[in-house]
Amino acid sequence: MDTKNKLLVAAIENGSVIDHIPSDKLFTVVSLLGLEKMNLKITIGFNLTSKKLGKKGIIKIADKFFTDNEINKISLVAPHAVLNIIRDYEVVEKRDLSLPDTLIGIVKCNNPKCITNNEPMKTVFHVVDKEKGVLQCHYCEKEQTKEEAVIL
């Protein structure tokens, strides 16, 4: 690659890189993960050129490895993002963030009469349509789309 087009960001020794985040979802991902409260070295790229998306966002975090819960949250708002796990300057794992079959304790049920909104308990949603992002509450069985979903 032409050095002039190269992004001037230091490579990280250990940590995570979330790439191919749609630009309009970048700051949602940032706040979902609570990055603004973290005391780690974080590089955030916004409106970068992407062949796949046109414009994309990217987040690099040193010394941070995400939990499944955090990964599922990202997959909900940025389903085609790619998570790279870096150890000793090498990408040791590359994961496409697709929606999992089940989301536990991540999304609020939008049915006010659902038991999950009235008991101290975790919500459970079954992803019934991964393409359209349709989620069904395990308890009251009401469906909602991931766009409607309020993340806990």
Binding site: K113, I115, N118, H138, Y139, C140, K142, E143
Partner: protein, 309 residues
């Protein structure tokens, strides 16, 4: 956990439905059988429902079991803010079976996840009420001699009426043709129409309700059109008298046709229908006893053979 609980009708296979109906038939022959001699059954009614509670408690009593519980949560620790989980865990120490009604949707499923004691869902909000569906199926089978290939007409509030939704689900094994008769505001929701398509259930929608529309019915299932369901009260005033069944409308109906209603009825079936031989709603309620005796025995692990002895 989860065990043998009955939370939703959707969990039951065709074989299981027919088996429970056979068991109910056995209880109709003799409802008094001392099967639950050493059992304590809790009826927890977080939402009052006299009809359903009396039916379940009668079933337990006729089976020789003892009943504990409450009919109204106002006097219990729930009103002090105790969680459902804690109430269920506490009662699980005392009872062999919990029969519960709750105003929140999904409450029975959650309860079944936090205890090893079997749970029977006696209604959770507008969500599920499987024992109602079992008694509906029993009434249909008993009056028609079969569940297969019937024309079932559902009339009234098809939008919020959980009994009609559960009936559609339970009938999916038996090749019915459904007719949906409802005002625009209370039409059958798309999600259930899609369910019909997915499960090869034929359905026809009507908005008029008269002698001719119901002429081919085997079962006419009436439900209540409630005022509080309408956002537009002008619309309510317009339709409230349209979906009322009068005896004069029964002239062209089939001889085997029976009229069902989950009760309580307000005015959607006119009193002049009550003495017609096609009216079946009071016997339908009585069938609830047999259906509930069968459900109780099954979740406690008693088999049809054991009951026959």
């Amino acid at each position: 956990m989860g065990n043998r609980s009955l939370v939703t009708i959707a969990d039951l296979t065709k074989e299981k439905i027919l088996y429970l109906l056979d068991m109910a038939k056995e209880f109709e022959k003799n409802p008094n059988r001392k099967i639950l001699d050493d059992k304590v059954v809790a009826t927890l009614f977080f939402e009052p429902s006299t009809r359903t509670r009396l039916s379940f408690e009668t079933a337990v009593n006729r089976l020789g079991g003892r009943v504990i519980g409450f009919a109204n949560p106002a006097n219990t620790s729930t009103s002090k803010g105790e969680s459902l989980k804690d109430t269920i865990k506490m009662v699980s120490n005392y009872a062999d079976l919990i029969i519960m009604r709750h105003f929140l949707e999904g409450a029975a499923l959650y309860a079944s996840e936090v205890t090893n004691v079997p749970i029977i869902n006696a209604g959770d909000g507008t969500h599920q009420h499987p024992s109602q569906t079992m008694l509906d199926l029993y009434s249909i089978q008993k009056t028609q001699g079969t569940l297969d290939n019937l024309n079932i007409y559902l009339v009234g509030d098809l939008k919020y009426g959980r009994t009609v939704h559960s009936l559609i689900m339970a009938m999916r094994f038996f090749h019915p043709t459904f007719h949906f008769i409802a005002p625009d505001e209370l039409k059958m929701p798309d999600i259930y129409k899609e369910y019909c398509v997915k499960n090869n259930i034929k359905y026809v929608e009507h908005s008029d309700f008269n002698e001719d529309t119901i002429a081919n019915a085997d079962i006419l299932y009436m439900t209540r059109v409630q005022r509080e369901r309408f956002t537009d009260l002008v619309e309510y005033e317009r339709v409230k008298n349209v979906y009322i069944l009068h005896e004069s409308m029964l002239g062209k109906t089939r001889p085997n046709m029976k009229i069902l209603h989950p009760l309580p009825r307000i005015n959607e079936i006119s009193d002049d229908v009550d003495n017609n031989e096609k009216a079946y709603y009071f016997q339908q309620a009585q069938n609830g006893l047999y259906a509930r005796e069968a459900i109780i025995c099954d979740v406690l692990g008693f088999t049809l053979d054991q009951i026959k002895q």
